[in-house]
């Protein structure tokens, strides 16, 4: 896998089918349905529960706005990911191009996915720092690898944004 940044886009080339599939999983991984811990994490309380009025208003006015914001970012990423389905040879390495103006949406969607997966599997801080665990073994190991791979992508995007 290779990263490079051009004037108007970020490019990830030589993506092998396994990593390409992990990328395709980003939009689905952001879904919080059936994962109350993830829902709680993405839509955390703005204040101590003792501030009842503030928390109630937040739920009513701010949470729908956040939901819309997160959904827009995921839609943008899903649309960019369509490129991965255009490969004529299904098991060949492929290339993904991310326009610079989509970088913020990618950071958000990757973060949403990482938080949802981490909440779903209740990963510990120690596990999250274990960047060498093989993805082969269990669904949990694969998900940990997914979280770290998405984090790696976030780092790449952040670095490119900073240098650009």
């Amino acid at each position: 896998m290779e990263f490079r940044s051009t004037e108007d886009q970020l490019e990830i080339s030589e993506l092998d089918p396994f990593l390409a599939e992990l990328l395709r999983q980003i939009p689905a991984s952001t879904k919080t349905e059936c994962v109350p811990a993830a829902e709680q994490r993405l839509f955390s309380a703005p204040a101590d529960p003792i501030e009842r009025e503030l928390c109630a208003e937040w739920k009513l006015y701010v949470q729908p706005e956040l939901r819309r914001l997160f959904g827009t970012a995921t839609d943008t990423v899903a649309s960019d990911l369509q490129q991965l389905n255009e490969n004529e040879r299904p098991f060949a390495n492929c290339t993904l191009q991310i326009p610079h103006e989509h970088a913020a949406a990618w950071l958000s969607a990757l973060n949403q996915a990482r938080l949802v997966i981490a909440a779903k599997y209740n990963f510990t801080e120690k596990e999250l720092c274990d960047h060498y665990r093989s993805p082969i073994g269990s669904r949990r190991d694969l998900s940990l690898f997914q979280v770290n791979f998405y984090g790696f992508l976030q780092e790449f995007i952040l670095r490119e944004l900073e240098s650009g």
Partner: protein, 127 residues
């Protein structure tokens, strides 16, 4: 973003020192007895001064990347990189960092922005 948070000034418990209206009674001395009525000046403090004691706190989260949190602090608060990193490290090492303090209304907007970036943030009364 269309939502405008309500003003929260009315909910803040006011200490006598922060009372919104101060009456300054400039009474004339007996040497100036030619003036029949003393001048009464009203100095009104703005709602903003009354509504001061709130702070925005960012809490530790093992998932968010350190570089990402630094970038968010720079974007939301306009912190220079060094200051953003200092707060990020405080969050990481101490579990929380007070990143801003002031009026409740603005604090709520900051928390909303931080939640938009998926950081764990809350607004608290100072003290």
């Amino acid at each position: 973003m269309s939502w405008q948070p309500r003003r929260g000034g009315a909910e803040v418990a006011l200490s006598p020192l922060l009372a919104p209206v101060h009456l300054l009674v400039a009474t004339k001395t007996s040497f100036e007895s030619s003036v029949e009525n003393p001048t009464i000046e009203h100095e009104t403090r703005s709602d903003e001064a009354v509504d001061l004691p709130w702070q925005v706190v960012v809490h530790n989260d093992p998932v968010n990347l350190m570089s990402y949190v630094t970038m968010v602090f720079q974007k939301v608060f306009g912190f220079p990189r060094e200051k953003a990193e200092r707060h990020m490290l405080e969050v990481h090492q101490k579990g929380r960092s007070i990143v801003w303090s002031g009026l409740r209304e603005r604090g709520e907007l900051y928390v909303q922005q931080l939640h938009g970036y998926l950081l764990l943030a809350t607004i608290e009364r100072v003290g």
